[in-house]
Symmetry: C2
Subunit: 597 residues, 2 copies
């Protein structure tokens, strides 16, 4: 039932035509090996693995789920073998430090590659995905010994990693966390507490698991300033690097979730487990924030993944399923009915999925490129890229996942009643997608981060900087007849965004709740505008190449841009009005008056 | 984990304050017994049954699902016993004909009562719900003998019923259906074919099941004009009315669905089953259409059900869950954090669910009242109510279920990661809700029905009539200081709707696909406007009573109206723009150019 195909043509459009990754890589200290030919070869190879190995396991993972028996977690059939292939192919090492066994290719290439892995099978992709979180922590904050012991094994893929943050009483509000770390005479710590919602928290795919755990030292300050980071391996590591006895950390149960059944979401009990401090005491949250952007962009990818998966499958179905006649006359007169792709509303659902999948790809790669620069650019380039990324990360995470979920639902809807049945996989796509607006910071949290911390927190500087640069690029296209019709619209929206920001800032002086009241609508508005900017650039590039292209690819890109501007971007009209309505309608009711039951 | 409470206070507001059901019932030939006291007593009793018996079975139904073994279907634990209680209580008979054992109360009362049943446990409520479809068919088209044999047993609840329409290759496009009916010498028919997606198609709750089956007679005309209706009982009925030998109809399997697991969705194989023609030959679809409005309103209710269920549960959670501090300063300074209901965005999610639940209740009861009039009014009243109902039914069905699904998702979102876990029931609410925009005609089909058949098909007359009457009511409120601020807005939107309709009609002359291109946005726009009209009337009534009411109920109603006008109604701004963008952006792409894979 799986038809996933690696969308290499569109990926190359974004990489080469739109964002000029060849020049970007050529300018990077670690980019010399990432020639266009190498990039293509890598993506083709990853595409085959995604299509042939991972995609067929997607439904298996959902129907079998992970099993927990006598404290041991077993992953669905085929998951372990696929992981072995992944490790054999050297994929975990792609973008990591050669000093610890990595291939040293640019970080963005790993992101682009992971689009393929994660679209084919999101639940499976989370196992190596979580390892990247642990690897980034170790790379940035680990001692040389910790890197040699743990990072090398994570980079080879021999071990996997997790991030252990959430506890039963706190997810968003990590300042409340209670897990304890007691220092021992030998310099280690005893970690005790319960962590929940730990993705890839236990499994049978690798010989050891490196947990990165947030915990409190004795007498640590209350709140977020008293949290430290610890390495807690599932099995203790011997001096020769091999796995020794089990540590005192165990999987207490698996969560029964709506979706992503193939990934083990664990309750982990730490019962005096041996741990090792990583980074400075009480600076754990700060350490985590250094790679929060990267983690959030990894989750933003989920919006792309489910939009692309749903689009491909509903497109195939819409071309085959015969039902009713076109309103403008039969299009398949010799058949019993027309394929449903002839119907305007089915096209609306397909095109919506399509422009979100393609728009999300543009935004994802755009942020991945910025992330490269934050690692390897000149000091000035880094600073600028960091600011840009700080602004775009919450937008990418929340906007892409919200519209990714919308897209997954449109994909299901194209199937009618058959979409509600398990066999077609469309309802799994919806269920798997649903978590994406929640974990790694909910949409509401991303929106507060964007409007409160990033935009207003920088006195508007981060936004102004972006709007100026993007605005100049937009205005430069005003003379291009292929796209000139959309330039005033995009320009107007960008100006509106600036004005609304000032208004909210002014209102927030009197009432801080104005920030929260506007935040989600503001984030969504920003998302539509950022993608409009990318669609405009994409259309300009496509227009240039359309005539010489017999495949029709670039003409289709122009048609997609037209759909985006005509049928998606108008959503900003509603958001502007609701933003301006402010906080009053939200706070008029007393808590006690919400319901009379 | 269940907290469902019958929302009797708000139900009474809609019945008594807003829609004046007491006068409505007093004027009806069968309304004399439906005094306000009786109505209240009935709803209180149904509320207790819903809260105490059905609500606790909602999660059970989801986790156990229905089982199919050796051709027999077993419903989840407790379902059968609950159904026996329901029958003992005489609930199936509430609004049916006393000549066949019914209690003869107005049809709308059954709809209002079923809000309670179906919100508490949608999957369970579908069993008696489908029976109503069969009962309506028999009431309107059955012979006296058929009524005595089947209708009496359905009204008593001793048997249940189904509607067998869909086949594997056709759902929307019933003209393609293939099930055959071969006439026999004794006047019966042999029915052969496969039906799928048959809700409540087989189960262990009642001793017999009366299937109403669409099938083709030999030599019937092709398409929708060659379909006839048949009664096919699961067990043949003896002359004395008792159940005899099994008929040749069997459940081939149960569908594995995303949700509503407690309801048995069956593949039914008819293998020369004995059937009885109901209604005239080849007029089966017409017969079905006579109660299509009632069936669609029954599904519209699902939008209300999941919005109300999600709202009640997320409200309870938001009052208890402590996480982060209010942006405007601690509201629970002695606790470790504030309850999340203090956060603006949580309030946005709660209020959105609330105004959809309450708005859907208003629209549901409004259509139920019209349905009463189509049965019992004077000829002129009937005709007017039929026109109004024809217009409002597709709006109610699609608008309420689309926004009901949105609400269910917001309810889940309020729980953060806990919403994604089965134990809280929020993800079940989303999964159960997801079918509602599909069955009984998808949103796309409802939208074509509204814009193509009802609005343009009547040359705009049905819409004009409604807008004139509602418009006069709206304008009459212009002098009411409590609601005057919203009158120009609602008036403007109603005028816009009329203008857009003319524009679409004009464009459709040149290109019929313009109808399909505008249809869903047009339907959603209409939904927001119809609910704005109801919220305006609700606000006016509430304003009148607010001062004398110490409970604060009416003040809360005004605040809810304000939220609806400020934060929900602006969605029309986006829809207007996308409607005006027309069909071109949808048809610019060749079918072959949708993807380059």
């Amino acid at each position: 039932m799986t038809h996933y195909k690696a969308p290499l043509r569109d990926m190359e459009f974004v990489l080469n035509d739109l964002l000029d990754f060849p020049s970007h890589y050529a300018a990077m200290p670690n980019g010399a090996d990432a020639t266009p030919e190498t990039v293509t070869a890598i993506l083709e190879e990853a595409g085959k693995f995604a299509e042939n190995v991972l995609a067929p396991l997607n439904a298996v993972g959902d129907s079998e789920g992970c099993q927990w028996n006598d404290g041991k977690v077993t992953t669905p059939s085929g998951f372990k073998e696929a992981y072995a292939q992944y490790v054999d192919g050297g994929w975990p090492a792609l973008s990591h430090d050669p000093a610890y066994g990595g291939q040293g290719l640019p970080h963005s290439l790993s992101t682009v590659m992971s689009e393929l892995i994660n679209t084919a099978n999101w639940a499976w992709g989370m196992y190596p995905g979580l390892s990247h979180g642990a690897m980034n922590t170790l790379s940035e904050h680990g001692t040389e010994e910790q890197k040699q012991t743990y990072l090398t094994k994570l980079i080879s893929g021999q071990w996997t990693g997790t991030m252990c943050l959430t506890e039963p009483h706190c997810g968003t509000d990590l300042g409340m966390l209670r897990t304890k770390a007691e220092p021992q005479a030998d310099g280690t710590y005893r970690i005790s507490g319960t962590k929940i919602f730990i993705s890839a928290g236990d499994h049978d795919m690798a010989e050891n698991i490196v947990h990165i755990v947030l915990a409190r030292l004795p007498d640590a300050p209350a709140g977020t300033k008293g949290i430290s980071l610890f390495i807690v391996p599932k099995f203790r590591v011997r001096a020769d690097g091999s796995c020794g006895e089990a540590n005192h950390v165990s999987c207490g149960s698996l969560e029964h979730k709506m979706g992503i059944h193939g990934n083990a979401t664990c309750v982990l009990n730490f019962d005096g487990a041996e741990g090792f401090l990583i980074g400075p005491e009480n600076r754990g949250l700060n350490c985590m924030f250094t790679f929060m952007n990267s983690a959030r962009i990894g989750t933003a990818l989920q919006g792309l993944a489910h939009a692309e998966w749903g689009f491909q499958h509903s497109l195939a179905y819409a071309r085959e399923r015969l039902q009713m006649r076109s309103l403008s006359g039969p299009k398949n007169p010799d058949g019993p009915a027309d394929p449903i792709i002839v119907h305007a509303d089915v096209r609306r659902m397909l095109m919506t999925q399509k422009v979100f999948a393609e728009g999300h790809r543009m935004l994802l790669y755009f942020t991945a490129k910025l992330l490269d620069i934050t690692h390897h650019g000149s000091e000035e380039e880094r600073k600028r890229a960091e600011g840009r990324l700080a602004l775009l990360t919450p937008i990418a995470k929340a906007f892409m996942t919200e519209t990714g979920f919308e897209s997954a639902n449109l994909g299901l809807q194209c199937f009618g009643g058959h979409g509600y049945i398990r066999e077609w996989g469309m309802e799994q796509n919806v269920r798997d997608s649903r978590i994406s607006t929640i974990y790694e910071g909910t949409t509401g949290i991303q929106a507060l981060d964007l409007l409160g911390r990033k935009v207003l927190g920088s006195q508007g500087a981060l936004l102004k900087d972006f709007l100026e640069e993007a605005g100049a690029e937009v205005q430069a296209l005003a003379g291009n007849p292929a796209v000139a019709q959309w330039v005033p619209l995009v320009g107007k929206l960008a100006m509106e965004l600036g004005e609304m920001t000032k208004q909210i800032g002014a209102k927030a002086m009197a009432n801080p709740d104005e920030v929260g009241a506007a935040s989600v609508d503001y984030l969504m508005y920003s998302g539509y505008v950022v993608q409009a900017y990318l669609w405009l650039k994409a259309a300009a590039v496509a227009a240039e190449k359309a005539d010489a292209d017999e495949s029709g690819f670039y003409k289709a890109k122009l048609a997609s841009a037209n759909f985006y501007f005509s049928k998606i971007l108008p959503r900003t009209r509603a958001l502007k009005t609701t933003i301006e309505a402010g906080a009053e309608p939200l706070f008029a009711l007393d808590e006690s008056a919400f319901a009379y039951l």
